[in-house]
Symmetry: C2
Subunit: 345 residues, 2 copies
Amino acid sequence: MTHYGRDVPYETFEIPDFRLACGRTLRPARVAYRTYGTLNTAKDNAVVYPTWYSGRHWDNEWLIGEGKALDPARWFVIVPNMLGNGLSSSPSNSPHPADGPSFPAIRVIDNVNAQHRLVTERFGVSTLALVLGWSMGAGQTYQWAVSHPEMVQRMLPFCGSARTAPHNQVFLDSLRAALQASVGFDGGRYPAERWPVQGLRAFARIYAGWGFSQAFYWDEVWRELGFASLEDFAVGFWEAFFLDGRDPNNLLTMLDTWWHGDVGATPGFTSTEQALASIRAKAIIMPAEKDLYFPPEDEAWAVSHMTNGAELRVIPGVWGHFAGGGANPVDTAFIDAAVGELLER
Amino acid sequence: MTHYGRDVPYETFEIPDFRLACGRTLRPARVAYRTYGTLNTAKDNAVVYPTWYSGRHWDNEWLIGEGKALDPARWFVIVPNMLGNGLSSSPSNSPHPADGPSFPAIRVIDNVNAQHRLVTERFGVSTLALVLGWSMGAGQTYQWAVSHPEMVQRMLPFCGSARTAPHNQVFLDSLRAALQASVGFDGGRYPAERWPVQGLRAFARIYAGWGFSQAFYWDEVWRELGFASLEDFAVGFWEAFFLDGRDPNNLLTMLDTWWHGDVGATPGFTSTEQALASIRAKAIIMPAEKDLYFPPEDEAWAVSHMTNGAELRVIPGVWGHFAGGGANPVDTAFIDAAVGELLER
């Protein structure tokens, strides 16, 4: 029987001297992860499902379970936490000289390099039935498919992109500027756990305008999540989200990873288009219809450069980016169905 | 010959005791304004063209001039500055006890009430050939048409709305939260001209993501404005914009006006729909195709409640909200043509 939730113990994989794309070294790097299900004897039922911006492994569990496509009775699902998320190596848990604002820059490829070592060294896995993920998890999915085409059989990035679009960068710049401007941020040298709360609240308020679509707010769909008013939603969903254990320096580290996302920066490639064209995995690419920072046009562009028969399948509806967050049953069923379909291809 | 620019002197209209919708009184209220052209003997060639969020009268001049629809040789164009914009009564120029953060709340209808007194008392005008405006100027246009249906013959609100949509409020809340969280804001009691620059920069960065569309950034259309890179545009356009004499308390006053925009709050009406249905002016309603905070769907909704044969005419292209800012010749020509057409109806 598989247990779920934030209170279930997780594992850690340690890499003693982990070289980063930026030139610095984490001594060591730690990747916190959980697995769901059992690796079979042929070692061909492994799935990698990386986390998203500030998400933790338990935040991915809505797509895993009995009766779902990612059924632990059949698949061995590995959920590695992203570097910087507070469980894997992060500003908040790293010793000097990598603590706080001195934590090194992390790129998407660093995450995938670390995850590759976890998968191959700890589990002896050399093939992945599927890599999938939401948002920055989708970015890691693309990177897996480009970095390890011989391993990745299938890919399903949802509400994300192979390269962070400029408008997305403008959004990220605004989050960073608001947090860094805040009373109490102090260049990232705030005392432990004494966070710049005003800046985090501003951060949450900015995010609120991007995470859901105009139509979501017009139609007051937040009522489906149990909130009584727009302000109730802003405080009870958004502020609560970013005030729940999310260290500002961690947020800035992951934000920087996101900002620089681009499979075209993979060694051996000279452009995003070339990297996309190299992908061999069977693919369903799933943007959300009204995603404001990963709009479907951008993913249509990516698919147009993929030569592997990748399918573009847009998640319909008004939930915007959070269509991929597991927050509503309709979108969850839509994504789950696609996962199941792809796994049969 | 008409002179243009920020260095041309402007006039001020003073209202000794001006009652506001919030219950407070400005003693006095001052409306700074400029006029272009000459009021004819019949007094039937007057046009009112209010300003937008943080705009000044000279920022409206791109739509006025010889050979344009709003030709001063034919029309008498009155551009009143919005309360809170730093020229009309504002936190930055009002004496105690209405100074800084103690400045009273201003509603759209307060602006229109003051403008109505300017137009009728100073100029003896009882009919307006046209009211038009961009963004918050569009909101004032709607309010004029609802408050004074006997006066307003034509209306052309562009890139704005009759009621501020909830998603738009979420955007505004994020601007406010970032500015108020900033080092140096100090509850609005910062020393004169010693502005919280970090907060203003964050404010500008947030705005940058909303003012133009995703496609505008994807296509790097900012190159048409002479910028060399995305960062160059962020600093040279957006930060420069909000660091150019824009007092934070003034910004917050106008933001609050915007947030509460709703013609349905007009005395005598019980809903936005009812207020919209009361409009008698000939109307062209012009949202921009990719406006992120005033999306065209919202204006389609407004037109569906107007009973005066209002025409919805969407400004095509990727410029988003700034399609109505006079920044590019194609959109400017599109708007100018509509103004000319409406003035002939």
